[in-house]
Symmetry: D3
Subunit: 338 residues, 6 copies
């Protein structure tokens, strides 16, 4: 049964140099709009749910273009506030082979979202809007006002009986030196409020400071995640292990921990067209599974396939329908669909 | 010695989303014109033959553009009738990795070709035009009028001593449920008229209802094709086995059956740029070999290489010259040609 | 106060050759989706209203792309039915100077909209959806099933007290020879149901067969429109006189007839970037004026300015906000906005 | 009745910077192939005639691309020799307003055409190929071998009773200083061989050294052209007067002198999209009129309209059909064709 | 004799929607880099001078791209400091007819240039670098640190005997409400340091608060500029009057006041391709005239023509060579340059 | 410490068909400018050195565009002479899979560089300009005048104590039949003048006619290179072994021979985006190592990594900074840089 999901987070403008040129070679940029919340809602709306973004955009033609773009993705923009003067941006130069892709952020601290004055969002009104609300660790890295808004929203949702989803999504470059120390208490606050959490053993070790006895990442995962789930009363914890191979291939294996048990997807190995945003596709698959009451084994397989497919689509936002994910999940290698 | 080959079939407009975007993401389409007959004549004109298309296009700017495109490919358009109001189209969204390419047909049943009234084509006049005429199973799937025109043309050619080439090319989506049953008698009619036939053991089993004892496709092929050749008095039967691998690679192995003997190409494995139309390149190689009196072993090697090269070119229509096919067939892996 | 407007009509795919090339020269098409209803709702949603389209699209990637495009324009697609197999298309080659633009239609009779089976639309449910519903003479030209659906919808709306807007929009090429005779009774049916009608004296003479005594179009307009308004009990009749000048300039003068009085806009003369759909912008301005209770003089000036601005935007659908229309309406010639 | 026309001349590669950038700003070039003969045959094939080009191209992928391009235009390439190593090129940067368009030639002296060894063309075989052969003063400016080939071809055609068309087309930059002196005898040779000549009073004065008494160009034309026609026994002389206005508009008035009488077109004033090659469209209109036996007044009106329309099409080569030329010639200003 | 000119000012990234689409319609942006100093140095380097920019860019790929772009324009980037984290941007949507172009600024206050810490620039070292230094009123509008740096640089140059050029360039949107009051003392500081000033009577009235008796702008100009020149001991004052016509045409008339006398250019009327940056082309023409010792009448004619030509080139930065400016200044309307 | 390096060689215009189309399919070309000297200086300027090109370009818009392009790359164009009438060009059609890339040269023999009259370059003045000068065997293949200029320049540099770098770069197609015989004495002249030489055992065998006893290329290299170094008194000899694999992968292993010892890089295997110019990147790495006094083992590893990275960038000219080369050299496979 379709649900209504809200997401709280920044909308960024993505400016990508087409093909494999560098910014210093070319003269064209392809633009689109994304963000963790955007990506999660794009995926969930393709699975039949209704998605509403809670965010802030400037009241200018860039804000208008972002809004039109979100509508095209199927996202409800009614709860996007308009104000402030700019949007956070990132420039993307595609890598090739040994030359890594390069992301250059611009103007993020001054964006409309990150400079929203207290009281911008009517969280009390929003509390009952959706069945679940999605939050992300990237938002937590911004500044105190944003963190406060985020926690307030999560608390209100929790109080009203809504589901709180939290994706840890720790980005070292955003927290700076001694970032793990700075981040810990904020992450703990969010974990206490959350029902479903996306993370893996690295987050437990680096952010929460937990010290596993095992040495392989599989051992560490099995050791730490149950502790985290128990300590923060989480109903579901899920995440992935990613390996990056030479020649543009990645491997992904998803896990879910629920009701005391782990379930794992197969390890999927695949070529990568566009890597940005693929983690959000995995998260969306897990959320969809939880909302629809999937068996954990099906959830994790669905989520991993959705994650893989998100690497095969241009842009940050997942675009595969539920039918397409299931088609790949169950199908063999196939020729042209006609 | 160059020959004159005619082909009878529909000309379609191909509308491809550039790069790897979906139709719902982009705003540009690259257009070209193709069809089985177009593809076969494009290849054969590159091998030095003269190719004339017998088809029908609307008398409007789309028909003009199609005609100009065919001329660019080196195809003679003098026997394309102009009338009706539209052209069959297909939209192509390129797949990547596990995401398959997607073809969406539009307006095919109502196309000028498929609604040509009886008497459109002066088959009596056309009977002596060419040394050989190419027909295709896709045309056979259209409707009764088209089937009747096709058979009339083939009969007239046969009566005048021309060579009839028939590519089985069964497309399940065009025949619908119980399609094999519906198709059988029409295929049998064409096989009785044909000299050279493109097919493999699947066609013998599914369309003609033959039941092999062998279980591998190689066994089935060797068992069934001689029976087909004998039953329908075919001088030559040829075809391919294709395997689709992960990560955008295919394998292709060609066979030819002639004068009671099979010859096989090596199994070629290669990356795929554009898969549509590659089967027609293989057929063209076989036809070229027959017209030029190649040794069967050379024919099948040439045809398989031509088929492989057609996967490396943008668009449906094969563009490699005879010299280029032979260059790849005989050469080692090579650096830039300069 | 924002209203909710529905529109009933076909969604077409527009395929435009970029720049000034012909279809037989180029290899790229820019695609978008439009239609009279689409254009009217695009404009009205920019004036703050909510617009819902009642139409039908194929359940394939082309239908998905059309839906995404409409959402981007701000149109609600919830009441678009999915079924049938194709979409009507038109190809546009831009003219220059003495060389006129050229539109080639393709596949319109077989489109999902024009082949919708009786009972496709739940008109009873839709009757109360909107404050006003927009219909168009182009839809009336399609076929009996479409005409019947259109009249049924208009009757139901009328019965429920909704406002019926009808744009005569007679297209000679759609009705064929003796078209005016064929069309008359259908137009009369719609005029009897309508409250607001878009037309001018040409429609009264050619479709309704009225014979004015005056000879200039101004005289004929003043003579015939009051008769039409009275005969069909129309609250408002409005329309334009267009003159086409050499060198890519048009002139437009709007009129509105309401409560027994005519009001006229100034004659606006302006360069033309994209002419298709500009008439719908004028209609939208009139509808907006009626919904908001504008003074007729303001309505007609607003509508004419909106019509002019629609010629300055790429694509069929008007994109100017109310603020932009008013800015041009009240402003002097201006330099860059910065 | 359709005729067969041959043309002798160089095929050039046109490399145009898209839009209004300079070569030092951009990174893309749009390429096509043209030349006076190409342009004339493109127009004539659109009027229903058969056109064959006699020229020379390198036997490499550039020559292949040129051949495919000519076929697309509807030109027969059978008599294009393949040899030499390069093609003449010109780079085009579009002007705007007071900034003139800029053409930069590259590699013309060394082109395959301009370095064709004596004996390249089988003129004896070609003599009976066509009803008329077109030659151009630009070819005359190349070098002695080219001039010799051109005169030999014209003589052979003349001897076989074919029609010789000569377009004076004097280009100062190709002949250099004292160019008129150098050119005179060569022009006289061609005028003695020609039946139909394209020129105006400037050519008579500057190339042929004639000294008129009149001072306006109209007076000079009326004084000199009859003398030229008589001196060289020309059946038809025709040409244009062009005026260049500010803001991208030109005026064109055509004349034809035949059987002792002048006929003139109206003075057409129009905006210019692409000026290169428009003179060849006028010449083609005159040739078409002569081949079809048009009344001189109709010929000159048709030719001037064809010349005007050629300014409205991208690329050098005229693309309007006879029906389109007549449509503009007889029609009023028109809205979109649909 | 070539001179060395420095300019102090911000480098901005220009992000333009190609063609005539809005940001909410398209998906591509064309990027380049500009700024008043960039534009002035681009023009002057085309007149044979050496131009060095004194500015600040982030040490990231965007800064690298900006530097490469400036080098391409012929500007010396050695004195551009690298630091800070972002670049000021502006988005440009092209207007058409009555729809004005729209500029949306983004991230300017936080740009590397506008957040340069005190001491960033080694002004003492730079004092003797160039014969003249160009400053601009836009820089003056930024913030106190930037204003302080600008004045310090100008003072140092003045002390070392260099020429100080100041372009008033008042932008209301940058100074906000009561901006003229805020700006006055800063403008007065710069005027006291300047030798050559670009301004007109509007600046004298609005910024300096002067009250003319005349009513036409010509009278006011003649009344106020001599007073300004005398009050601030300016050797040269120059500027333009611009009129904006309908249909994409502007008129421009330049003046120069020097040694007690006014000289005026003709009023030039011309179509506009790209209006941004054209004022800087006029300023560059005046500076060039001053550096080369042109007669004032020639200076103002050269500058006005350079200004007109800058409207005919894509991008903000003037690209015409001295030869091209003189060609247009002295020439008649011309056909293609070839 | 940054050095100043000069290079002597031709600047070519590269005209590449975008994507994977053939010249006969497409209508767009991407243009850039390159050449061995250009590529080497592009790399070295990214490692912090100053690079000056000694060459010749036509004094037309193509020459202007080339100059602007070189400046953008960071190359000093002050010593590029302007004269002659054309530039050498090459057209590039990208291969795919078994279809090799295809390069078609055009107009090289007649280029401004290759037709520079004796005395064009002021070699005496240039002798002290740079710390090292780079020469290339491609230049040696052009004609006698170019060879003479090249040797004169090298001799002058040698006499003034500058470092002479010579890259053997033998291209069979440029020397024609019996090319090795023709080339030998010219190569010997350059080897006698050189300090650092790029070559491998193939060059020693084919050009210098040396006959090794070993059979593997490793044995031959170790046998012949010390002899060459000794015979021509070379301080450093370096080069690569390349293997071309199926499916767009190459392997590269670099060597350096210095002070009697060989050092080797690892064998790097990588996918190829753009192969042209990658050899120059390797050479640049060796030159950088020599200029900076790197340990030979570090030199060869740096150079091989730089060579590999040059295959991952669009265009001929290496664009990786020293930091980027070192990053890949020392790093593991990495995800997006952000």
């Amino acid at each position: 049964m379709p649900k209504h999901i809200a997401a709280f987070g920044e909308i960024m403008m993505r400016l990508q140099v087409p093909g494999f040129e560098l910014l210093s070679q070319g003269n064209l940029l392809k633009y689109s709009f994304s963000g963790t919340g955007v990506n999660v809602l794009s995926a969930l709306s393709r699975y039949g749910h209704r998605g509403t973004l809670v965010s802030r955009l400037p009241a200018n033609p860039i804000g208008d273009a972002a809004t039109a773009y979100l509508r095209r993705l199927g996202i409800q923009p009614e709860h996007i506030q308009r104000g402030g003067s700019s949007i956070g941006m990132y420039f993307l130069e595609n890598g090739f082979g040994a030359r890594p892709s390069r992301v250059t952020y611009s103007g993020r601290p001054e964006s409309s979202f990150n400079t929203a004055p207290p009281g911008t969002y009517p969280f009390a009104e929003l509390a009952d809007l959706a069945d679940a609300v999605h939050f992300c660790g990237i938002t937590l890295a911004m500044n105190d006002d944003v963190r406060k808004a985020m926690k307030t929203y999560a608390e209100t949702v929790k109080q009203h009986g809504g589901l709180v989803v939290f994706d840890c999504n720790y980005r070292p470059s955003l927290w700076g030196e001694r970032g793990y120390e700075l981040a810990r208490s904020h992450y703990e606050d969010m974990l206490h409020l959350a029902d479903i959490v996306l993370m893996n053993e690295k987050d437990a070790m680096l952010i929460l400071g937990m010290k596993p006895e095992g040495t392989s990442r599989e051992e560490q995962l099995q050791e730490l995640i149950p502790t985290v789930a128990s300590r923060y009363s989480l109903s579901t914890v899920a995440g992935t292990h990613r390996s990056i191979h030479d020649d543009n291939h990645h491997s992904l294996r998803g896990y879910i921990f629920k009701a005391g048990c782990f379930a794992y997807s197969e390890t999927l190995t695949f070529p990568v067209l566009d890597r940005v945003g693929a983690g959000d596709a995995y998260a969306s698959g897990i959320i969809h599974g939880e909302l629809e009451g999937f068996d954990p084994q099906h959830s994790v397989a669905f989520a991993a396939t959705a994650g893989m497919l998100a690497h095969t689509v241009e842009g940050d936002s997942p675009l595969a329908s539920e039918q397409e994910v299931v088609g790949v999940l169950t199908g063999a290698v196939r020729d042209i669909l006609r």
